[in-house]
């Protein structure tokens, strides 16, 4: 059975990958250790590859990336959050890659329009998840400073995690089951890392939950300004 790809779903997943890849790309030349220059770039490249496939199913990849206004982006607020310190980047990676891994594993098992992409991406994302988990352990269960910073990061980003399990048009997965699995997995990693599972709400009127509807956080506009500036300065040029 072939279903037509839902543009809404392709944009949601494509924008997640595009935006997180961009944020990770900001680390180039600033990483805490040379191995992480390689690892973060590796993850950013995987995500960019996914983004290009997904956006191309919804239209022209460059038009979509460079010519949409902020309100037209459908990514989660989580992925647009600034890098912060390395702990914030790792917490963002942990939350997102756990979600993305469950999502792609789910999609790969369907015969829906994303099955092929998901089957390929799920292997990449398994590595991203492992990378994030290992670093969560090293920071959480390393030095006192590492522990404090990792705890602060996990708590700060917690309120952006509920949005991941809100329904998206054209995305045919068991969101409730995914959410249970996500919570179980993240709790177990935080526990092993001697970190406290944050207690605040993960969704709600006051918290995050609107990236999928095109409502973003303040830093996102600046990120797009930087990303789109050159392309927009030369209308119609090819590169």
């Amino acid at each position: 059975m072939t279903t037509t790809v839902s543009a809404t779903a392709a944009l949601a997943l494509g924008d997640d990958a595009l935006v997180l890849s961009h944020r990770l790309g900001e680390w180039a030349g600033h990483a805490p250790v040379l191995e992480e220059e390689v690892a973060l770039a590796n993850i950013a490249l995987d995500l960019l590859g996914q983004a290009r496939v997904l956006l191309s199913t919804a239209g022209d990849e460059d038009e979509l990336a460079y010519l949409r206004e902020e309100r037209a982006f459908r990514n989660l607020q989580l992925v647009e959050q600034p890098n912060g310190d390395f702990a914030h980047t790792i917490a963002r990676q942990l939350y997102f890659s756990t979600y993305q891994h469950l999502l792609y594993a789910g999609l790969a098992a369907t015969d829906g329009p994303f099955a092929d992409l998901a089957a390929k991406a799920v292997k990449e994302v398994a590595y991203h998840r492992d990378h994030a988990e290992q670093w969560t352990l090293r920071l959480g269960d390393g030095t006192e400073t590492g522990h404090e910073r990792m705890q602060r990061a996990c708590t700060a980003l917690w309120r952006f995690t509920g949005e991941m399990f809100q329904p998206v048009d054209g995305l045919d997965v068991d969101l409730a089951g995914m959410e249970t699995a996500w919570l179980e997995s993240v709790r177990a990693v935080l526990h092993r890392a001697t970190l406290t599972v944050p207690e605040g709400p993960r969704t709600g009127a006051w918290s995050a939950g609107a990236g999928r509807q095109g409502v973003h956080t303040e830093s996102f506009g600046r990120m797009l300004a930087e990303m789109q500036h050159l392309h927009r300065s030369h209308p119609g040029a090819s590169w």
């Binding site: 595009l18 900001e26 040379l34 690892a39 960019l48 670093w135 590492g146 522990h147 030369h234 590169w239």
Partner: protein, 340 residues
């Protein structure tokens, strides 16, 4: 054959007669184009020269990430963005190979980074120039990676084994970078008038500094003669520079761009392109620290290192606590899987 004698592991004896024998064997091995390996005896000066050269090379790879990373977040198409990210990642990988090669001579990466951060060791001066426009990314690929290849291909036959082997891997990737840079400039050269002007401006700014990458003229080059005898170096600075010019001139023509040198012309008699005088005062000033970006590059490097200290310390503390356990946690170095 010199092989058996030359490749004796370095003994602990201080006996001068024995050292003399080792030295003769070493010289014979080098003369016979054999590879010197980490456990072989080697003169202290050879070891020091190699460590200095590999360190400077490794530092250049990691500092060289900065001018190009400057454009990752502004790359004008997703395809170009992917190419640029992969390139900057490759340079980090080159840094890793080279620090590892230097470690085979008993000098740790930390020690070398310390020397870089405190200004006791240098990196290639080319990276002290700024990347002002997107076209600079292309100019760096075409000219800077191009010059690096010209310099480094002979190093694949360097007498020191680990360095030579690292260079084989590195040169393969550098030639991708060179082609990608050329192709980027080609797209600009064939693009809008603004894109063409951007490309020409970048080439104008990067051409002369690229020629300086081959180092001072032969009659002023401090380390050249000894390095040639040791087969760490195979061609003189001027020879390599000429080779580079000869390669670039026809390529610039195909790009539809000019090189900023009124004296550049084919010399039938020499079979080479003649080119104008290089401004060695500029070279020396940049080398001394007075280039446009010396301060900025080193400051960013130091800051990344200092701000990352708590991360490295926490990883080390975790590793120390869990070494005896087999819970599957890998060391930080094991997370850097390379791109498929």
């Amino acid at each position: 054959m010199a092989t058996a004698a030359a490749h004796q592991a370095y003994g602990t004896t201080e006996d001068t007669a024995d050292t003399g024998a080792y030295e003769r064997a070493f010289d014979a091995a080098v003369a016979a184009d054999e590879r010197i390996e980490p456990r072989d005896w080697m003169p202290d000066a050879y070891r020091a020269t190699l460590v200095r050269q590999m360190a400077q090379h490794a530092h250049s790879e990691i500092i060289g990430m900065q001018p190009e990373a400057n454009w990752i977040t502004r790359a004008p198409s997703l395809r170009r963005k992917a190419i640029l990210m992969a390139k900057v990642q490759d340079e980090a990988g080159h840094g890793l190979y080279l620090y590892s090669a230097a470690e085979t001579l008993g000098t740790s990466r930390d020690e070398l980074l310390d020397k870089l951060h405190s200004g006791r060791q240098k990196y290639s001066s080319i990276f002290n120039y700024p990347t002002l426009t997107w076209a600079d990314v292309g100019a760096i690929g075409w000219l800077v990676d191009g010059a690096a290849i010209t310099n480094q291909v002979p190093l694949c036959r360097c007498s020191y084994g680990p360095y030579a082997r690292a260079m084989v891997r590195i040169c393969k990737e550098e030639s991708f970078h060179q082609r990608q840079g050329y192709e980027l400039l080609l797209a600009l050269g064939r693009g809008t008038p603004e894109q063409h002007a951007m490309a020409q401006d970048a080439v104008n700014r990067w051409w002369w500094p690229s020629l300086m990458m081959f180092g001072p003229p032969d009659d002023e080059s401090a380390h050249s003669a000894q390095s040639m005898t040791w087969k760490i170096k195979r061609h003189s600075n001027d020879e390599l520079r000429q080779r580079f010019v000869d390669i670039c001139v026809p390529q610039a023509e195909s790009l539809g761009l000019t090189l900023p040198d009124p004296d550049l012309r084919w010399n039938e008699e020499r079979g080479h392109y003649d080119f104008g005088p290089i401004d060695w005062t500029e070279f020396k000033e940049v080398l001394k620290g007075n280039g446009p970006c010396n301060e900025q590059r080193l400051t960013q490097r130091r800051r990344a290192h200092e701000e990352g200290a708590w991360v490295r310390e926490s990883a080390a503390a975790y590793a120390a606590r869990h070494t005896s356990r087999t819970d599957g946690a890998s060391k930080p170095g094991e997370t850097g899987a390379t791109r498929a």
